[in-house]
């Protein structure tokens, strides 16, 4: 039946050739046919880039425009690994938009400054007005300057946050750590909930410890926290003891951990009841809010985060506008790249169905956050979620998800570190590959 005669081989080649021609011709044809509606996306990060790809693949008749001021995107995830010295610069974690553009996404390299949800247009700082049928907003976060007294953008030069790569690359921190003498003190101020990447500060402290253990073993790490608990806490605390002895000290909010003021001149931070701590390198991760465009266009209703219908991620404040990623409030889901990606798929499914006259499928949300704690040592947290019937909340699927086993072999921890790399490769491949 599957005899390879010369005839069948050449016939197969001819067919393959025809297919290649059809594919090569496709983008132009698709663009010409993209008349089912105009989907505009604000922000080309985890939510926006994922939405752009999903929309092109799943609704080829919809025209997709991506508004993003930067020419490339440096991820927050895996930035902490630079601190441990696992990469020497940000090039392995920086991606261009060329593949998305090749998929037929029209990129507008500009900043959105106004959303007019009555006229259904977005205005950019360069003066363009872009009309939409459906709008997906995924602009990420802004830092709340002066929420900690004295901590403004100028102070962040001396005491970096490195929580938003477009504002301050993670190298601002690695440079200071490299310059620090052995025996120095690294202080981190961890933010109150909700904030971008709940396990992120603790992964970062771990990566600082990995670096100190190799290069500056007499140094100390002090985490001053605005919370009384944190993501994957038992796993982090046990791993820190095992890998780094007593190098890392974590101080909870109720043990006077909450930083309320900073003084960059004397490199000190002050906690709630007046206690002062001096550090050699200080990382302030301040309280956060939805990015400016979401606040300015009324999507946050004067609050910090955009309210959404949990079934669709449609804004509660504006029709035909979806808010995904860190900028919305969608508890108990974390503000993670994975959630931004996963809810991008949901927003696209609903917006695409609305524009093309289909019915969106059921809603189901997924998150995994891996953290690197040390060399060959990874841990994770999983959550699977469904919206409730009236779109007012999100429930975690019972008996599922949760954190890695508390007792595990070195092989399992090493496996998770390896699989974390696999996750990073797959998700960035989806967004930018």
């Amino acid at each position: 039946m599957t005899k390879h005669t010369p005839f069948s081989v050449s016939r197969r080649r001819a067919l393959a050739g025809a297919a290649a021609i059809a594919v090569a011709g496709a983008p132009a044809i698709l663009r010409a046919q993209a008349t089912a509606g105009r989907l505009v996306i604000v922000g080309g990060g985890f939510g926006g880039a994922s939405a752009a790809r999903a929309a092109r693949e799943r609704f080829p008749a919809v025209a997709v425009t991506l508004i993003e001021p930067a020419a490339s995107f440096t991820t927050c995830p895996y930035g902490n690994l630079l601190i441990a010295g696992r990469y020497s610069d940000t090039s392995p974690i920086t991606f261009g938009y060329d593949k998305l553009i090749a998929r037929g996404v029209a990129k507008v390299t500009d900043t959105a400054v106004e959303i007019d949800s009555a006229k259904k247009t977005v205005r950019t700082s360069g003066g363009q007005t872009i009309a939409y049928d459906r709008l997906i907003v995924s602009p990420g976060i802004d830092l709340k300057w002066n929420a900690i007294k004295g901590y403004d953008e100028a102070a962040s030069a001396a005491m970096p946050h490195c929580w938003k790569p477009s504002l301050q690359p993670v190298t601002a921190l690695t440079d200071k750590l490299k310059a620090m003498p052995d025996g120095g003190v690294f202080i981190m101020s961890a933010p109150p909930n909700p904030f971008r990447c709940p396990p992120g500060p603790y992964e970062r402290a771990s990566m600082v410890a990995e670096y100190f253990k190799k290069a500056k073993p007499k140094s100390k790490i002090l985490i001053l926290d605005s919370k009384d608990g944190f993501s994957k806490q038992p796993l982090f605390l046990a791993a820190w003891k095992q890998l780094y002895g007593d190098m890392i000290e974590w101080v909870s909010s109720n043990n006077e951990g909450r930083v309320v003021a900073v003084d960059p001149a004397s490199m000190t931070v002050e906690t709630e009841f007046g206690k002062k701590h001096k550090g050699d390198v200080i990382n302030i991760i301040p309280p956060q809010q939805a990015a400016k465009i979401a606040r300015d266009s009324g999507l946050t209703g004067g609050g910090d985060w955009a309210a959404i219908d949990t079934r669709s991620f449609e804004s509660k404040a504006a029709r035909d506008v979806f808010v995904i990623g860190d900028a919305n409030a969608a508890p108990p889901m974390p503000k993670s790249g994975f959630v931004a990606n996963n809810t991008a798929m949901r927003a696209v499914a609903v917006a695409g169905a609305q524009m093309t006259g289909g019915t969106p499928p059921k809603a189901l949300y997924f998150n995994t956050c891996y953290s690197h704690v040390g060399d060959n040592y990874g841990i994770s947290v999983v959550g699977i979620y469904r919206p409730n019937a009236d779109g007012s909340k999100i429930d975690e699927a019972p008996n599922s998800g949760g954190i890695s086993a508390r007792e595990a072999t070195a092989d399992i921890r090493a496996g998770e570190a390896t699989y974390a790399d696999g996750w990073y490769r797959s998700i960035t491949d989806y967004m930018f590959g």
Partner: protein, 97 residues
């Protein structure tokens, strides 16, 4: 066990027919792809799952993970979050036709 398998096979039949031409993965697969690769081809030690197992084996594997009867780092926590209907859709998308 055998009766359970027959039930699964029967319940898969309509899903399989319906999704044969579908371009869009089922909702439940969106999360899987961000680890197992955009086409389920695997990534950095995370195994390939696209067209690797038969439908019956794929479904059985997910159930073994859910019951902690198959060792792993993460799939137990993941598989317990999906309903039988979700697993049937996943199987129709990932398993061998």
């Amino acid at each position: 066990m055998r009766r359970w398998l027959i039930l699964v096979v029967l319940s898969l039949a309509p899903v399989a027919a319906g999704s044969a031409a579908a371009q869009t993965p089922p909702v439940a697969a969106n999360g899987c792809l961000m680890c197992h690769g955009v086409n389920g081809q695997g990534a950095n030690g995370i195994p390939a799952i696209m067209r690797v197992q038969s439908r019956a084996d794929f479904t059985a594997t997910m159930k073994l993970f859910a019951e902690n009867k198959k060792p792993g780092t993460i799939m137990g926590r993941i598989s317990r979050g999906y309903t039988d209907e979700d697993i049937a859709e996943l199987s129709a998308w990932f398993a061998k036709p």
